[in-house]
Amino acid sequence: MPVLRRLTVQHALLVALIGCDHATVVAPDAQRTTRTPSVADSGAAPPATRIWPTGGSGTFPSSVSYATDLGTITTLNVSGPIETGLHGFFSPLGSNGRACITCHQPADGMSISSRSASQLWEETHGEHPLFAMIDGANCPNLPARERSSHSLLLERGLFRIALPWPPMAADGTPIEPEFTLEVIRDPAGCNLDATHGLLSAQPRVSVYRRPRPAANLKYATEIGFSFDPKNGLPLVLDHDARSPNNPTPTSGNLLADARLRTLSAQAVDALRYHADLAGEPNPTQLQQILDFETQLYTAQSSDSRAGVLTGAGAQGGPEALAKAPAARLQSSTAKPIWGEFAAWKLKEKDDHPPAPANGPVDAQRDFRSSVARGATLFATRQFLISDSTGINDTGFGNPVRNSCAFCHNMLHAGLDVAPGQVDLGTTNIPLANPLPDLPVFRLTCHLTAPPHPFLGRVIDTHDPGYALTTGKCIDIGKITAQSLRGIAARAPYFSNGSAQTLAEVIDFYDRRYALQLTDQEKLDLQHLLEVL
């Protein structure tokens, strides 16, 4: 690189660092050892550790940043600081000591990572409310405070979700499923348990899922189009809204199985199930939860290799995320997804394969260009998508040529603008990654029902997914696409924690859809995901 150009880049980086309002760039060697979060602009005292406590008084500032392995994750609280004492999001409203904050931590992109779970286990010897037996254990019937009883949470970041069998609509109406359900393997013992399993007095199917981030929620809830192309109908209406005579369409992008379609319904359900709240929540505290979670925006704000993610013309970080309109469809030509990092594309004359770095500026430039290449790959690299319900059975054809952005098509978030229920193979056997610690169910479609279009009438799965909401064979293994922002801070990945790293996520797709990515392309995609 010419000297003049190198100086210019260095200058730009310096300006970006000085001018950064929210993100605090942490040196790579200080990352995981940093125990005190950096709070940028509120002056509020940060919590003593990177994990926010449940209950107690304090202030949640307008911006809070935490060191990660790769840089900094920042959560903006755009309506300004709030007092946490007695606040519905921070206070244990039920009987097990949990609050929303227990499982939605800013250091983990408003989800919770298996690493944080392990940290809490070590610090509290399993006494922390996170490990409540109802869902923080593999099954409530296991011995408390034994690590093995909580292995799915500690190793895969999974919580037990006990769903009614047969399925039940959100209003309690029974749904007659198109399939029978058998338990083929039950490592945790919960699905065959006399108290908690399918043969209990209140039959339940126990599946194990990652908590979705309680941030960036306008992207998960706003409506892009009034129709769902996956089922051919207009969006499902919310009849449970506070204005029952004026039902409103719902995005269907909130939960892995779309069983609840509004933030209000989700919050009440979570309080009752995860926090063991009896009865109705206090309306004031429920409103506090809704107000607070909808004013949070979380994203990676700096990277140890790239610098601040608003540097050199990029538009990463949570500020742009907070300002942008939601539910807007990307266009691979006019407005591709992850255009936030287009400014990092190398000029043609500079475009060369990554070479051994000749210094920090070259290394930064190479990393940034890798991110930009990853963004281009994500939006434009075509491959054949096949045998995926929600895509190939909806009129697009099987196979259909498209890119990652076919499904991850929402600008700034990477959600699906349409309700994102798709079977990628993350839970259905044989395509799912090996998951010996998760249950296997055998679902057999009734002869009177249409079979699964690509898997036939008998399907083995770790999680029936959307089919436990609809009762339909065609929905077996469908899982709602989720936001990709802040993803580096909340490993493991996929709804069932079947990928421990972003590299494993990319490997899954590479294998599933025969992408034939080169090692460099995989790295470019990984770098992109790491800065979101």
Partner: protein, 267 residues
Amino acid sequence: MRTHASWLVLFLVLHSGGAAHAQSSASNPSAGVLRTFVACPIYRDTDAGRKSGCWLADDPSSGIRYDITLGPVKPQVGRAVLVEGITSAEPTTPCGGRVLTPVRTAVLPEPCARTIVPADAYPGRPYKSPREQLRPASEPRTLPPPPYDTRVFTIYFELGRDFLIYQYAELILEKISLYAKASQAKLVQIDGFAATAPLWVSARTLREPASLAEARANMVAEALRRLGVPSDCLRVAWHSTPQPTHDLESGQLPEASKRRVVITVKP
């Protein structure tokens, strides 16, 4: 409501002969001829960008390879496809088959060989968005102006399905809902039809079950309810053995036109 209520009751009867039945039996290469046949679809992996792969099908009676890419619903490898299309004079260069347009295809339950062939220097066709598309929900809708008289809308379906076809049906449904709202409709009559008379094609009998007419009508009714048409305005009926219409591709696809729902909005 069952999205695919009709799947199992679509009758597929194999016959030993069948050549005499096929409208596809002729090998006349001239344009403007209806071809109807069942085949195993072939995907040609052309790459002119997203959704640019070619769909081909060999008419079993003539051996002619047709390009069926231009239909609104794409086939699925591994499943037989019903093809109903009009031969055209368009060049075969994009995909390597005689082009059928207009063309309708329907995925059948019958299993087939999964055939994916390389592009073989065929370029495919760049995907073109439909001329008229559903607009984002964030864009305000304009209600249609008066006069408000009785208006009739028709939605066509794939053989054997009640699925509302993406980038086609939703536009009509939105127009219906807006017209019903603007005209303060007192009645929205929904008449579902199923093509219950046997269709002899490629040594098979294809026949839709009568129950599919009801399923289609109910699907449209549910769609209109979700778009805000009051339930007490909706009247649903269903019928068998419909006559063809002339408004599907100007009457060129008479069998396909039987698979429909007719919606009549009465202010």
